[in-house]
């Protein structure tokens, strides 16, 4: 039996179908979850995909965070269930305070879509075990509110605890503090990042690289091993 990975659809979510595909490509079962349902359908892990939930109105992720499905996700995440937030999903996770900090408008004020180089700074999270710590990968980045900010104390704490999970390499595309592209919670089960691993799981598609597949194989392995 394979792992069941939930993929949440909020109104305005865009990358739900791609994320489901990425989950399938990795060999797991993708379970669609609807924002109005508290029921997580007994999934083993949840991905909050990218997009513009509620149009990014007010602030990215601000309205979605109050949806019924998030009540359950927050509860389960605190109990240890693996949760991955990609782009808009990461924004939702910071709005819920499952992850610290916040995302602001890119420093150049434009939406930016590019193939972005990252360094995986830790492989001791639920979603990065298949990478080497220090491994460099390239996956698509696409957002307008991608600049990670937190106060100095929080940033120092993240660094000290090894919770900066991904850092931008070559160029910092948006002015993120300390080049942070993604972070994890203390327990390593909740991870958020701005770039899009789900767009980099098949050769030919997008940038033609498969550097993002490791996110989905990592979680699959972890869940199957846990059985």
């Amino acid at each position: 039996m394979t792992a069941r990975i939930g993929v949440v659809t909020f109104p305005g979510t865009l990358d739900d179908r791609d994320t489901q595909r990425a989950v399938r490509v990795a060999g797991a079962e993708a379970v669609p979850l609807w924002h109005r349902d508290k029921d997580l359908k007994q999934v083993d892990a949840v991905v909050l995909p990218g997009g513009f939930s509620y149009g990014d109105y007010l602030r990215a992720g601000a309205i979605s965070r109050f949806s019924p499905v998030m009540e359950s996700v927050i509860e389960q995440a605190k109990a240890g269930m693996p949760v991955l937030g990609i782009c808009n999903g990461f924004q939702v996770l910071t709005e819920t305070h499952l992850l610290p900090g916040a995302m602001l408008r890119n420093n150049h004020l434009h939406f930016i879509c590019r193939d972005q180089k990252l360094r995986v700074e830790t492989n001791s999270t639920a979603w990065t075990a298949d990478y080497e710590t220090g491994q460099e990968i390239s996956i698509p980045l696409k957002n307008i509110d991608g600049r990670y900010v937190a106060d100095e104390r929080t940033l120092d704490m993240l660094e000290a605890e090894g919770r900066v999970a991904f850092r931008y390499l070559d160029v910092n595309p948006n002015g993120s503090l300390r080049d942070i592209a993604g972070i994890t919670n203390e327990a390593g089960n909740v991870v958020g990042l701005m770039p899009h691993p789900e767009h980099a799981v098949e050769p030919l598609i997008g940038t033609g690289r498969t550097d993002g597949l490791g996110f989905f194989t990592s979680i699959l392995k972890k869940l199957v091993d846990a059985r």
């Binding site: 865009l14 990358d15 791609d18 149009g55 930016i112 789900e198 997008g206």
Partner: protein, 749 residues
Amino acid sequence: MTLDTVKHATETPEAAQPWKELGLKEDEYTRIREILGRRPTGAELAMYSVMWSEHCSYKSSKVHLKQFGEKIPENDAMLVGIGENAGVVDVGQGYAVTFKVESHNHPSYIEPYQGAATGVGGIVRDILAMGARPVAVVDPLRFGAADHPDTKRVLPGVVAGIGGYGNCLGLPNIGGEVVFDSCYQGNPLVNAGCIGVMKHEDIHLAKASGTGNKVILYGARTGGDGIGGVSVLASETFESTGPAKRPAVQVGDPFQEKLLIECTLEIFGEKLVAGIQDLGGAGLSCATSELASAGSGGMRVELDTVPLRDATLSPEEILMSESQERMCAVVEPGKVDRFMEICEKWDVIATVIGEVTEGERLEIFWHGEQIVDVPPRTVAHEGPVYHRPFARPSWQDVLQADDANKLARPANSAELKEQILKLVASPNQASKAWITDQYDRFVQGNTILAQPEDAGMVRVDEESNLGVAMATDGNGRYAKLDPYAGAQLALAESYRNVAASGAKPLAISNCLNFGSPEDPDVMWQFAEATRGLADGCLQLGTPVTGGNVSLYNQTGETAIHPTPVVAVLGVIDDVTRRTPIAFKEEGQLLYLLGDTHEEFGGSAWSQVVHDHLGGLPPKVDLERERLLGEILISASRDGMIDAAHDLSDGGLIQAVVESCLRGGAGARLVVPDGLDAFTFLLSESAGRAVVSVPRSEELRFTDMCGARGLPATRIGVVDGGAVEVQGEFALSLDELRAAHAETIPGLFA
């Protein structure tokens, strides 16, 4: 306030009406009175005036557009032709593809962000209304001079608007154009295209049939936006202080449109609609009259049931409002509940506003009183038709006699090198990455090729790897020199771009951007361009499935260059065989396909180096284009080439530079016998492409070209870190990249 009911109109035949302010001609107003046998009510007048406008009725262009239906090539692919929201073609395996390009030029000049954004929103709803899931967008754009201050206002806003809307909808932007020319200074062209995919059985049409079926309006509430001129009606018809003049600008809500897409697709999935129409220009007037006109019966609408954002709107204004993100569906009574449930699921407001009736009239009521009673065909499909006078402009001969081949050419290699560097860095030839990086090209996870490739390509089926490709092209400079040839060159270039990506061109859509039809010069350009395009499509076997006409693009007396933009759709059975433009593999051989003549009329070189426009555009040979296309497609399918790039503005050197920069490899070129370096590098002869051939495939490839009679000249090899033309000059990739990449951000960032 007295309501101008049908009864009231009958009783007050002599009441003065503001038909002139609404843009109607006297004979048109007279005709409306004849059709109705009385004076129109205010609401009827509003409907006729907007539906008989140039924009909605195509009254000046119709007689010329007819050719697209008459000169139609044999082509099994066409499933739905001109006349519907968008044409539909068969791409195999049970899939159908619908696509179309539309203009949003004037609104984008007034309010660049919202004008462009709502342009994307409108074309996406057209595609959705055919029953398809929108899968990609493209955006052919034209602006005034790159260094003009107003371009700094317009371009960033337009780009942000297209990105802001398209990105939020989750539609990858896979292509388009950015052209600068001072002729577009007061008239930027913002065209937007969309591609949608469905199964054959899911095709939906805009018609209302089945007496008793319900008419449902769903999506955004109706507000006072985009009403513009119609508010004169309100103030003329009603005494005292009529509503404030309503804004002509519409504000888009892409989030609402995303919900509308998902909701509509779910409704299609359960086969709940009998007919469907998007609301675009002319709002409810257009949707109700077109649905009724195309259907078998009549329609009755209770206008006061329309959900409003602004309670002070008059019935005329409600009919005219161009509030975005709305659709109108015709639904059997037994399916209404389920329809409503799906709308509720997606937080989409839906309201039954009327039903299909037995008769043949479109009847609209306001608080129980009848304000419209018209035969819908006379509103929607039987508008005025003009045979506008046209004549070859007096200046055309002088323009053509001003031969670009006589312009001073570079005197030596150093000058040639300098001019090429200048060309590569010129706004029209420079990299548009600063613009296209503001568009999401990855969303939906099916993008095979996107900018800066020759054509955009998306996968349609994950199992079989079926895909579709699209390119858009148009060269106003060529069209100005010769509109007939210019339209064919636009077609040829777009066709070539699609073929270069490895896809087989199937059909086209177009967006015809011209000046005022009341100017016989402009009308001649239009007549020539449509004739050229229709003849060209017949010859290439690519039918016109639909399109859009935008007239009155001019500032004062001065019209823009005639700018027919052609979008070619192609199909590829296996996307893994697609051909990118990048030169990557050191040692691969470069072949130039096609013939090179001394052709500089309208060229990028003549513009950048001499600021000149004159002479004749490159010669068109559509048989050659077809042959070139076939070779490019076969070579891609059989793995004979690793890269291909079509040649267009900027000639061979521009293509080589782009391919080298894309792949990160240099090229060593040798000027072939019989050509001088200048002509070899910079001529813009049509029907050409450059390909990168693995050495192991050289013989097979040249044999194929030889056997089929396509000239293929070995011009060099992929090698090193520079573009070197033997005996002439070398330009390092770093130097080229800087020249190519820095211009646009330097102007607009």
